[in-house]
């Protein structure tokens, strides 16, 4: 039966090729689209897994570049139990490299406390050095830098060579390579030099990288840090005003904060922090005007949210940042699903058309088969075999071309994108293509199956 179905397809080369092409393009498109998501997933996982410590940033800031924290908070962080090292970081965007405007891929200048960075047990960049050396105490106050291999390749720099960085000279002393396009965009320099060059507020830093005494203690240390900073005054990051926020008048900020607190306290809202917590045995004081029944659990959750809101810092491990990024991925997944569905619908219609044409061209043959004792089920099987073979063939070719395309894109734009078609994605695409082929061939198969042998022969 399989051989017969295959020979039927091979005998109608043009029609089969067109159906195969339709499926191939759709499946290749599916592989391509989902490889974007998988690539991002992989980059995220690889990138964040390389950072074992804790990141402390301004609440609401999406990345350290937009975060601003007071410089003196570093001392408070050091005092938290379980904290081994606190490294202040300053992040600045690189706008001009060797006189060329930098837009995409972006480049960032990271200012680190060299001494502290070298004291870390696991230090990003330092542990990924492939050429030269990492910054040491001799580089403090200098404009010596370590940058990634991809930036070095792009700028054609050699160790010891000077180049223009945001309009000022810098000297290359080391090259690192992490393999992640999210990380390999950073140029590392002494924090003092970056502060001076970028005219960065001397009382602020971008973020803190905290290394705990033991990585297993990260969660406990995070909770302790939150406790230390709970209730402390600090601004939440808001777009476009991020830089200004640190330069605001503290008195003005305090008055505004007081005003917000008074307004929120006077409204019919759940109990505030200032109120004494009620014991579980006391009846809950719920306004009669409210229809909603407020449970004790609700109050506890809202109270916790209120408390979290009062913490001016986001303290999370890199893994948690990765999870946040994952949420964004699921949104992207949905968009990819819609785009793929459109492609699949077109491909399915192509297969239906091919199989219908194929069946209508072979009415006599189907009549002959039935005249020779083929049952409805046998005819259905034959047509399904044919559409299944088309689905399998289209799936294989689609997966192959889609996979090759991701490799070509990765090689062509190594610093910009990283597509990844996992074996699971390829297997699913192949399976999906076979199912699609079978479903698309079902209607023509049923149509052929129901035909009376005599009708078929007479029509032919």
């Amino acid at each position: 039966m399989f051989r017969f179905a295959l020979s039927n397809l091979l005998n109608r080369k043009a029609r089969s090729t067109l159906a195969l092409l339709g499926l191939t393009v759709a499946i290749a498109g599916m592989v391509g689209l989902f490889s974007i998501v998988e690539g991002l997933d992989r980059i995220t996982e690889e990138s964040f897994s390389r950072i074992p410590g804790i990141l402390v940033m301004q609440t609401g800031a999406p990345i350290p570049l937009f975060s601003r924290l007071p410089a003196e908070w570093g001392e408070d962080l050091k005092k938290v139990e379980g904290v081994k090292i606190v490294c202040p970081e300053i992040w600045v965007r690189v706008n001009v490299l060797e006189g060329k405007m930098i837009l995409n891929p972006p480049r960032f200048l990271l200012g680190v406390d060299v001494e502290l960075w070298n004291a870390l047990s696991h230090a990003l960049y330092r542990d990924d050095l492939v050429e030269g050396r990492f910054l040491n105490n001799d580089d403090i106050g200098t404009r010596n830098v370590v940058l990634s291999e991809s930036i070095q390749r792009e700028m054609k720099l050699k160790l010891g060579e000077s180049f223009s960085l945001n309009g000022e000279d810098a000297t290359l002393v080391g090259v690192y390579e992490t393999g992640s396009i999210l990380i390999d965009v950073t140029i590392i320099m002494d924090i003092g030099s970056v502060r001076e060059q970028a005219r960065f507020d001397p009382t602020a830093v971008s973020a803190y990288y905290v290394e705990a005494v033991d990585d297993d203690l990260n969660e406990e240390v995070i909770e302790d840090i939150r406790d230390v900073f709970r209730g402390r005054k600090g601004d939440r990051w808001v777009p476009t005003s991020s830089v200004l926020s640190i330069e605001e008048n503290p008195l003005e900020t305090m008055i505004e904060g007081l005003d917000r607190w008074l307004k929120s306290a006077s409204s019919a809202s759940p109990p505030q922090l200032s109120e004494e917590p009620k014991s579980s045995s006391e009846p809950l004081d719920v306004s009669p005007a409210e229809d909603k029944i407020v449970t004790e659990d609700d109050l506890e959750i809202e109270e916790r949210l209120q408390v979290d809101e009062s913490i001016p810092i986001d303290v999370q491990t890199a893994d948690t940042w990765g999870e946040k990024f994952g949420d964004f991925m699921s949104e992207l997944d949905f968009i990819m699903f819609i785009l793929t569905s459109i492609g699949m619908t077109i491909a399915a219609l192509g297969v239906v058309n091919t199989m219908l044409m194929s069946v209508s061209e072979r009415i006599i043959e189907i009549g002959i088969l039935k005249a020779n004792g083929w049952s409805k089920k046998h005819v259905l099987s034959l047509i399904s075999y044919e559409s299944g073979i088309l689905g399998f063939g289209g799936g294989c070719l689609g997966c192959l071309f889609g996979w090759i395309a991701t490799l070509i894109v990765n090689v062509s734009f190594p610093d910009r994108v990283e597509l990844y078609a996992s074996p699971q994605l390829l297997c699913f695409s192949l399976f999906f293509s076979i199912v699609l082929g079978l479903l698309a061939g079902l209607y023509p198969a049923i149509w052929a199956m129901r035909m009376m042998p005599m009708d078929a022969i007479r029509r032919g």
């Binding site: 039927n8 002959i368 088969l369 049952s375 046998h378 042998p453 009708d455």
Partner: protein, 241 residues
Amino acid sequence: MNENHHDNSTNEEQQFLAVRDLEKIHMRGETQVPALRGLSCAFEKGSFNFVLGPSGSGKSTLLYLLGALDDPSAGEVCFQGQSLDSLTEPQRDHYRREQVGFIFQSFNLLKTLNAVDNVLVPFLPQGISADLRQRAVDLLKQVGLEHRLEHHPHHLSGGEQQRVAIARALLKKPELVLADEPTGELDSESGAEVFRYLRQLHEEQQTTVIVVTHDERYLEKADRLLHLADGRLLREDVHNG
């Protein structure tokens, strides 16, 4: 009258293939075109029969109804005492696959298959055993196609294609062979050759053969003849040679 009817029924049950009051109306749009108008006849086991008549007399329609390729509008066909109407779908498939061999005017071979596979078509869904394949090869050799086993239909002459069709019909060792104008697209020599094989296999396997034709050159002595006109049986007789 009732007694007569009972006698007729008993006779029909004893007959190998019986047709009673058969009617078939084809629809051409909303127009009814009667092909058979109450035809009754019977065929003995092991007989060689010719259905003769002009175009449009209902010869082919009768043949397809005998083979359960179509449903009658009225009346019935009884095979070995059982009405084909009473058969379930799988039983009808089995009847066509195992008990009836068809030979069509236009050969009706599958162009994607070679000669051997075309002979094996009825059994493809069940899977082909080595024995069955060997039998197909033997049958093709028997009809003189030993050098054409792997050839596809478009590489075979009309006569050769019809011999493949004969082999296909006989592979199942059918009790009944139905041939619709088997020499209609063949020259005289090929036509005679096809009939030579048909008669040879009829003699060897005692198969009942019913041939629809309007070409009387291939009639032989003792062949049973049914003359049709306008969907009715005009007369039946035996060829005198």
